[in-house]
Symmetry: D2
Subunit: 352 residues, 4 copies
């Protein structure tokens, strides 16, 4: 019997990507699509790439209806709204994959500082935080088995952690002196038209953003690196917007903890990712390129040691909508529901 799946927030890019990937999942049945503003439309009206392939209505979310029709819910909602929907669906016994930030930070206080607003200063459902599993299978595979609430990581943290986590965990680089310089495609800004994503403004140019004040993915990276390092971590994170639709390239600059063999860094990566179905440590001399993972759940990672400066550069390329969001969410669902981890996710990237 297939797993019956509902997608809440089906009218955004991550929602559409969930549909695209789940249509190719052999053990899943797309049971229901929900979205607020698009309710009443059919999927192919909102996303014409589905025309002639699937004909599903988009409805307004009703938690009882959702729980009746589906076993698993993917939530692609704004933070805050998401926590409330998570609570409602979790309470009704569903397995919930939350793509928002609401359950990524284990500390409700940190959440409040970064995501709180005047209208809603605190986390709406802190009581669920202890149950949430951070959905990076490469770090938390064991805990994901049977999980009923998964906090799917942010796109930038996924990219940065896949690049540098093996080096931090192996004690080769310090976690407290990291610089994360990451470059993202414009889908990271969502589907709502905005000046920053307006074609003539976003095209033919590159710019950093949210440097001052900080990007909300910062505490998420710090939390996970601190857990690996066993110490508090403060890092510098510079996100950039590039004239492309998909992809994140993360460059993490790190300091060695001592005099290590140059080969030690790549060896640690290779060991960390041995058997990992979706992480490829590139051969020596090869560097990651987001074009090579476009549309796929794969991460390409590499590490270079700068002989001149003695520093280490860990790099990764992912598709922000797949390994950085919807694909990773499905990978987590597979683990949570005891399915083969790679089901629905073995498509090769679309290059060029």
């Amino acid at each position: 019997m297939p797993t019956r799946v509902a997608i809440v927030g089906a009218s955004g890019y991550t929602g559409a990507e969930l549909v695209r990937l789940l249509l190719g999942h052999p053990r899943v049945e797309l049971a229901a699509l929900y979205a607020r503003r698009a309710a009443g439309s059919r999927l192919a009206e909102v996303f014409p790439q589905f025309a002639g392939r699937v004909d599903l209505p988009i409805e307004e979310l009703d938690a009882d209806d959702c729980a009746r029709r589906a076993d698993v819910a993917f939530l692609a909602l704004p933070h805050g709204d998401s926590a409330r929907a998570v609570a409602a669906l979790h309470q009704r016994g569903m397995t919930v994959l939350d793509l928002s930030a609401d359950f990524r930070l284990r500390d409700a206080g940190v959440y409040g500082r970064w995501y709180g607003s005047e209208a809603e200063p605190a986390h709406p459902h802190p009581e669920l935080l202890p149950e949430a599993v951070y959905g990076l299978p490469e770090l938390y595979r064991d805990r994901l088995a049977g999980a009923r609430l998964v906090a799917v990581p942010g796109c930038y943290p996924t990219a940065a952690l896949l690049a540098v986590a093996p080096l931090v965990r192996a004690g080769l680089v310090g976690a407290d002196r990291l610089v994360v310089d990451a470059k993202s495609g414009v889908t990271g800004a969502g589907r709502s038209p905005s000046p920053i994503a307006h074609f003539p403004e976003a095209g033919e140019g590159v710019r950093p953003y949210k440097v001052v004040g900080g990007h909300r993915h910062t505490p998420e990276m710090e939390q996970e690196l601190a857990a690996l390092a066993g110490a508090e971590v403060r890092l510098l994170f510079t996100p950039h917007l590039l004239p492309m639709s998909r992809g994140i390239l993360a460059c993490v600059y790190a300091e060695p903890t001592g005099e290590h063999e140059p080969a030690a860094y790549r060896d640690a990566m290779v060991r960390a990712y041995e058997g990992e179905p979706f992480v490829t440590v590139l051969p020596p001399g090869r560097l990651p390129d987001t074009a090579h993972v476009r549309g796929s759940n794969r991460a390409h990672v590499a590490v270079a040691v700068c002989e001149r400066s003695g520093r280490v550069l860990a790099m990764s390329a992912i598709d922000n909508l797949v390994k950085g969001a919807s694909g990773q969410a499905i990978q987590c669902m597979n683990l949570a529901r005891g399915l083969d981890e790679t089901e629905g996710l073995d498509g090769v990237g679309l290059f060029p």
Copy 2:
């Protein structure tokens, strides 16, 4: 038992696209990859999107070896070379899908005029022309069943014919007064670096090309339209190169044969494509967009009647590397080998 498949010319974009699609085909085994210059490399060295997913060697073609290891061969070679490889593999009993132009034109004389060179003025294997089936399933599905030599159509003819064939066949528009204005992504120029495909030259601009003298896809369109119309056809074809990698949008301007109801044109399209697995006639008011078929084997078609001028505009959007090449070749193989026509091809387009 799976169909064993070989790809000859695996180092170009259509070769890679064949691999990508065939990896998802449940009844196919990728048995061998051949390419001339890339021989000796492994696939993921030539196309890093396959790293960690498949590890296949690329070899130099040997017809005996190929026929021993595979039942079906896809050929993505330059014209001329392709005909020779077709002959060698066909003679050894293989089912051959030829993505070159060598067997698309039924008349060897026309072939010579458009493709002949001083070194090779005539078709190298005209004796095989009668057996070749033009691989546009929407027109030749019956003949493709059991075919052993399929001439996979050109990307532009696929787009133009899918747009206008139903109208010509229904006698609603004349075939002798057509203008085909088509816009293509840069992958149409292949993987070899060239001035026209150099990023700074191809980016942020649009240009027609091969207007004078004519593009070699012209006689192919004329041949198929003439077959539908039962009369000789001469058309004007303007290809354009656009700053995108994939996609062809074809606009075919036609003259009505008489006073038809405005709805008659779309009705003819709907009838023609009823039950077609890969052609979607868009709802009234919707227009095709190549972004919506990127990476998929689907064609989006539409027709508009201009009330002011009385003319008809038939439109289609395809991915030039999929429905315009590799996907269509697989669709033809499915038909030729008695498999389900859609196997390996039901992926949804990658949007955005």
Copy 3:
């Protein structure tokens, strides 16, 4: 004494382009910038490319103030609003260059059909229509001298007319059987964020738009072609949106009026544009490319005769924001004010 110039609607792309070009105009002084929503800001806050170069405040329009400070006003406003501002500034003795559609159509009835709304069904100032000169210098240079109200043509009509006007005027092609297939960059959609111009939707794809119902530039082209042909004209116009910021490529498909020498078409173009400062008839064999006119007021035009079909294809490439809007407006101002036509406009395109 320099001509004092005001720009009304300085916060949009054509407004910024006027500032950019006028800063390089030796006989002009930028006297005032007006815009509604941006009023109170300074130019470099709204358009950072001016930072460190000019420091001008943006104010709310006051007609008296404008007329006091400037001799000439460029209006880059929405239609309707523009007509009212034109009337106010014209009445105060200013020379007005209107970049909106309000004074392009000589027939107020046609204007009402295409631009009227329920709230405002008719032209707000039809009494000014007779005085307005259609600002295409290549057709109306004489009338532009001393003009006090210039209707700067639309971007698509500029491109289409520059391509085909010489052939229609010379009687070589019929004006009543034209197809205009034009491809535009996304700046044509303005600076306000919208779904069609959202980077992930506009990138990596091409689509026609406003095919059904018709684009509002249609009657403008018909009006000018009818004037050249001396007969009513109905044409089919297909605009497209391409993944680039600037540029329009127009392909105009025409029927010869008889058996003309193949060379006759290009000869007519060469004669028509002899001495024209901003129109280049490309050498035989060369085709226009919007990348080659980016940022410049130049149009590249060419014509091809299709030997197979007997049809004629007239082509042009312009920058939609320069020759298609702001540059042409300045060219008209130069003529209207008795300045050298090319002043401020002799910059070479930015390629690549």
Copy 4:
């Protein structure tokens, strides 16, 4: 009497950019264009953006002829070849602006290590090194006055130095712990077609390159930073290739030398660039964007202090072909010849 200028290497992008800018220079006469492979063509055949605007022949370089016809030579040649041409023209009394790397490194040994080949292991003309002035006016304005041999800086060093030099010079950050993460458009790879610049490979993706082994601009940055810091410098430099044609964004990560006021960094920048005609320190809160300097000689710089990590991020955006090459060369010529530094360079960037 105008300065007579020759351009050697006129068929590449920096050559064309020199022509574009010099055509707008009021005190310069374009006297001769030279190029090897394009010799015998006219400029507009090689670069159609000049069609109808200038009609200059491209010739094969003859040093005597060049010195007879021009006072100043701009050299846009490959390294090695350039040094030989520099020597020939310098000896004939010309003022030479060399855009190659040949005279940027003061130490011939360092040059040999980074640029030497088996065929040519050492600098061809080390005797000229002492005379060469490093052509970054913001650092060497005084020495450029009257200079007869100017080594125009590399594009990446220009961007990185403009970002971080004021902070190093003011002693606010250390020069020995710098990370330079820079993002470049594809024109940086030149006009010759190559796999890395092939549109389908370069589009819709971002990738670092030359991380292993190091980019040749590294020693140039180290040399200049060492001069400012008065100590040896080793830095980590990661160049990236982005899907855009023009622009470099440099992010320089630095360590404070002590506890400085957060405002001290921007203050140092403001002081350093007070009166600089081409460097704009952005207002607090604003970040550089290469789109805002496209086509202009301007650099936008900013600095941010990360409160979490205590690190400093200095940023700059330039157009790699203008401030990063041809524009800067003209700025140097103006200084070397006693002209107004900004002549020919006051154009505003083309945005969008």
